[in-house]
Each structure stands twice: as C-alpha cells, then as structure tokens.
C-alpha cells in the first residue's frame, strides 16, 4: 500500500467517513446484505486479494472479486433457504479503526482503515483481520463505494469455507 499523502489528509474531517464505515459494518453484521450492496456504485467492485500486495485481480486468483452482478448472485445465494454452508448462519462482529482519509480526486476519497471481524458459526469461532481501503465517491450527503479492497493478513493461507463478505 502507498504511503499516506499527508498534504491531502490534513484538512479532511474524518467523522463522516468513519460514520460511513461504521454503518457499512453494521449492515454486514446484521446480515442486511442487499442494503450493503446498495452502498456500492453501479460500477463498484468488492475485492479481497489472495496474496499480499496483489497488484491486479486480472491475472491472479482472488478470494473475492465481485462486480455488482456477481455481488447480486452472491447475495441471492446468501438469502437462499438451501445454502448449506449458512445452515446455521454465521454471526459476525466487525470492528473498524485507524481511519485515514485522503482526497484523491474531485469528489473521490481513499479511506484506509484496519479491521477485525470475528465470525461464529456452528459452535466454532474464528477471526479475520487486516487492512481495508474504500475508494468512495461523494453522492449527496453520503458516499458510494467505487472499490472496497480488503487485505487480510492471512490472505494466502488455506481457509475453511467463507460464506459472508468481510
């Protein structure tokens, strides 16, 4: 990840961005996946690389690389009554912190943060952690996600099945 550009950071009020990340985390933790998808721009992308510092989703495998169409297929499945890997469903708790905001363009921002997600399902609990970056586009009083990138610290490890977005 690039070093933070301090010139662009100084003047930005972090509060509305932090609020956005908190609200996003709530939607995921409350399994309101369709509303979560609604946070993404029509050309929005959700990306979880499979190796550290992955440069491109185009020539390498990724854990997730969803455009809106794939996101919708994923959420249709999460709402399907016969999704075995969510019987019983996961419960998650996200914690987001260490937020840094940088303006990258007119009306576009890069918001970097650190997260922990604890997932409990079927008598087992596990932890996901890493850094994430949200490329946000201002829209009215709030934002839409142009790209959410999640860099898990263990992204290249062997995982047990993952069903819910991080």
């Amino acid at each position: 990840m690039d070093a933070v550009n301090r010139d662009n950071v100084a003047d930005i009020d972090r509060a509305p961005f932090e609020l956005f990340l908190i609200q996003e985390a709530h939607l995921l933790d409350e399994r309101r996946f369709r509303e979560w998808m609604g946070l993404f721009a029509d050309d929005g992308i959700y990306w979880v690389p499979a190796v550290p510092n992955q440069e491109s989703p185009f020539d390498q495998a990724s854990l997730f690389y969803d455009d809106r169409e794939l996101m919708k297929t994923r959420i249709d499945r999460l709402e399907h009554p016969r999704i075995h890997v969510q019987t019983p469903p996961s419960r998650t708790a996200h914690l987001v912190g260490n937020v840094i905001v940088e303006q990258t363009d007119e009306g576009e921002f890069l918001v970097r943060s650190t997260f922990i997600m604890v997932e409990y399902r079927d008598d087992r609990q596990r932890t996901f952690a890493g850094r994430q970056s949200h490329r946000l586009r201002r829209e009215g009083a709030s934002f839409r996600i142009v790209q959410k990138r999640v860099d898990l610290i263990n992204c290249d490890s062997a995982f047990e099945a993952m069903a819910v977005p991080i």
Binding site: V48, D59, Q60, L70, R77, H84, E160, A161, M162
Partner: protein, 433 residues
C-alpha cells in the same frame, strides 16, 4: 489393524458399500500414507511453475514435504524438503528462485539438483565423509506429460505409462485449448481446508448426483445456475423449474472409468451455440489461426467436464483448473486449486476464466463452500457406530462398455466412479509396501 493384514483390509470394501473406518479410522489413514501415497504416481506440479533454472515450488506428497525445482541443465527435480544432516525443511517458501538451497540450521548447502555442495566446518565431518552420499533425498521416479509432473516415492511398481493409460487424452483436451498448445499455472492459487477425510473431496469431483441438491443455493427459480464460463449467455439448467427435480440434461450425463481409479464425466449440455463475448470470440479466432478452423471447432466442442487422476489430482474442463488433494490427517484435508492460463489466448479470455474460478472454487466461492459443508457433515455423521456402511451402490451392475472409446461407461448420477476409486484403493491397500 496396525499391521494391515490383507484379509482385514479386504473386509472394508464390498461391491456397493464402504466401511465407515475407511474414512474415520486413524490407523487406516496411516496405512494409506504408506501404501497409497508412499508408492502411487502422485501429481507434484506443473513445469510452468518453474520456468527458469533456479525456480522452485514447495509442496507435499502425502504428508512428505518436497521441492520441485529446475536445475541449470533445465531438468526438473523432485527433492525431499529435508536436510540430510539433522532434518529441517530446507526451503520454507511456497515458491521462489535460488541458485543454492541452504538449510537454516547448520548451513548445509545444496545445488538445485539436490547435490550437497558445502558443509560449514567440514573438518568436523570425520574421515571419509562423502558429500555425494548426503545430497537431498529425491523421489525415485519422476515423469512429465505435457507439463504435468508426477512422481512416485517407490523405486518399483507400475510405470507411469501403465498408470496414466488413456488419461493422457484428458490432459490433451485441456492443453489443446491453448492456442500455443501450452498451459501456464502462474495465476496464483486458491487454498482451502476442511475437517474431513481426503477421499470425500476425491469422490466429489466426479459426483454429478449431488449438484441439484448440494448446490441448490446457486440455482435460480427457473432451475438455472449462474453462468460459469466466459461468453456463456446463461448457466446450465440443473433443475426442471416446474417439477423441482433434476433436469433431464443432467440425468443423461455420462461418466467413464478406465482402471487405476481414474475417470471423468462428460460435459454438461451447456454449449447452446450462443456462447459469445468479445473475449471468447477473439480467443476462437486466435485458436483457429494457430490450429486451423476444423481442429479449432473440434477442440471447442465440449466433451469432458471433470477428470480425476487417482489419487491426488483432478483437472476440470468447465471452470478450468488443476485441483490437488492433500491429506493432512484422517479428518483434515487441504485442497489447492490452480487457475489455468491458456498460453496464446487473449488476456481478457484468461481473465474471464480466473474471474469465474474465483466465484466457483475460491474458499469464498458460491459452489465449493457447499461441498465443504457436505464433507464436514459427512465426517461428523460417520462418527456414528450404529451403522457401519456407507452406500455407493447407485447403478451397480448398470455399467456398460463404451466400444467407441474402449472404456466403461455409466450414468454420471450413478456411483460407478466411486466404486472404481475403491477398487484402486484396495489394490494399493491390500499389499504391504
């Protein structure tokens, strides 16, 4: 059971059923590591993973750590990843490049063909210390077919040719799809683990019976699965929408066996003649340019869906990838999935394949995750001792010769392929190594 007497092993498999201990007994697992993984031809890796001298990957054959590396003479070596001195794993990265391989503990240093090159403070080694005798141990037999490297950890046994037999055609089917006639496994990997026996994944790769039920969550209300291939306008019909039952197209699918536990399933009737996208169309042009229009048409006519080369690798023809199955313990298995890049195909086509493999077979995919749930639940259910037997009898006696292909054929929703795997299993297991 520790001694693995042949008659006791023989009681574990019957024509249409398998004893639960085959999945759940740690002693059986130990015997499998010795008698199957200790001597069968195992898939190691692909030569495209080590394109240049000094390139290496590390993996495991059964539970044994190995290095596959390319030496200066361009030869690909399969070396045991264990220092000849006191035993540490010598190479600790999953892939990389090195001119020499040095053990972290006392600095013993090996060449990329396994020869011991230097030993620090050699005067301590004693009179007559012979470096030639202290190279890295190597897989005694190594063979390659169209880039796919196999090794056997036994000095004798059936040759690679005898083992692989007609399955070469299944590799050809995949490799020939590349306009330049070569594959590259250089697009990373998906890795997943599950708390279940390794054979649960093995049985699953050719199991067409589970699809409408196991993957119900990927099927929409019209009974159609999401489109899984670059250029497909829609996915396969899996369930008849009004009848809530398996689609006829699915029920008519065939599976094939050729001995030694290998087999494959025929293609889903997915090619509606409408498959088209800018990337796919450009790929078709590139292929036809290299091999001619008639041959290109032949290559693009889907015949194979999934193939299993017993006991540790599957090549998948729909969402193209190589899948390696690694047993870790009787109830723990790791699976590694390598996306395939078709050399000479447009980058957009290869991206399409990589992108759709993310959603079908990553640890976070729509398809594989429901299979993993089934494997975990099978391992849990098989703890029950009130019933000893696992039923694999569907289609028993309904197998028939396919004279055109000179193989044995059955319906893909039957369990002929599983029974074939257990015949191979028994062949390895009943004889002491």
């Amino acid at each position: 059971m520790r001694n693995g007497h042949a008659d006791e092993i023989a009681k574990l498999i019957e024509p249409g059923r398998v004893h639960r201990r085959v999945y759940a007994d740690p002693d059986i697992f130990e015997l499998e590591m010795e008698r199957i993984f200790g001597r069968a031809w195992l898939y190691v890796g692909h030569t495209s993973q080590v394109p240049n001298p000094g390139d290496y990957i590390t993996t495991e054959l059964g539970r044994q750590p190995v290095i596959m590396c390319r030496h200066r003479d361009n030869g690909v070596h399969v070396l045991l990843n264990r220092c000849s001195h006191r035993g540490p794993k010598v190479v600790n990265e999953r892939k990389g490049h090195a001119t020499r391989l040095t053990c972290c503990y006392h600095g013993w240093t090996y060449d990329t063909d396994g020869q011991l090159v230097t030993v620090p403070v050699p005067e301590g080694c004693g009179e007559g210390f012979d470096k030639a005798a202290f190279g890295l141990a190597r897989a005694p037999r190594v063979e390659e077919y169209r880039g796919f490297v196999f090794a056997s950890l036994a000095t004798s046994g059936p040759s690679f040719e005898e083992h692989i037999g007609p399955m070469k055609g299944n590799f050809d089917d995949l490799v020939d799809r590349a306009p330049d006639g070569a594959l590259a496994l250089d697009a990373g990997m998906h890795r997943y683990v599950y708390n279940g026996n390794w054979k649960l994944q093995l049985e699953n790769v050719l199991d067409s019976y589970h699809v409408p039920f196991g993957h119900a969550s990927t099927v929409n209300k019209d009974g159609v699965q999401f489109a899984r291939r670059e250029g497909d306008q829609k996915g396969a019909t899996v369930v008849e929408a009004d009848k809530k039952q398996t689609a006829n197209a699915w029920k008519d699918r065939k599976s094939f066996i050729v001995g030694n536990g290998h087999g494959w399933t025929s293609n889903t009737a997915l090619d509606d003649g409408k498959r088209s996208s800018p990337a796919f169309d450009e790929y078709k042009r590139a292929l036809a340019e290299k091999v001619g229009a008639a041959r290109a048409q032949e290559i693009l006519t889907p015949r194979l869906h999934n193939s299993l080369i017993y006991p540790n690798v599957s090549i998948m023809g729909l969402n193209i990838h190589v899948r390696v199955i690694k047993p870790l313990a009787v109830d723990r298995t790791e699976v590694t999935i390598y996306p395939i890049r078709l050399v000479g195909a447009p980058a957009a086509m290869n991206f399409g394949n990589i992108r759709l493999l993310n959603v079908t077979h990553s640890a976070a995919s729509f398809v594989q995750t429901d299979d993993l749930e089934s494997f975990v639940r099978a391992q849990t259910g098989l703890q029950s001792r009130q019933t000893d037997w696992v039923d694999i009898s569907r289609g028993l006696g309904a197998e028939e010769p396919d004279r055109e292909l000179n193989v044995t054929r059955g319906l893909a929703t039957h369990e002929m392929v599983v029974r074939a795997q257990y015949r191979a299993w028994m062949g390895y297991m009943r004889e002491a190594a």
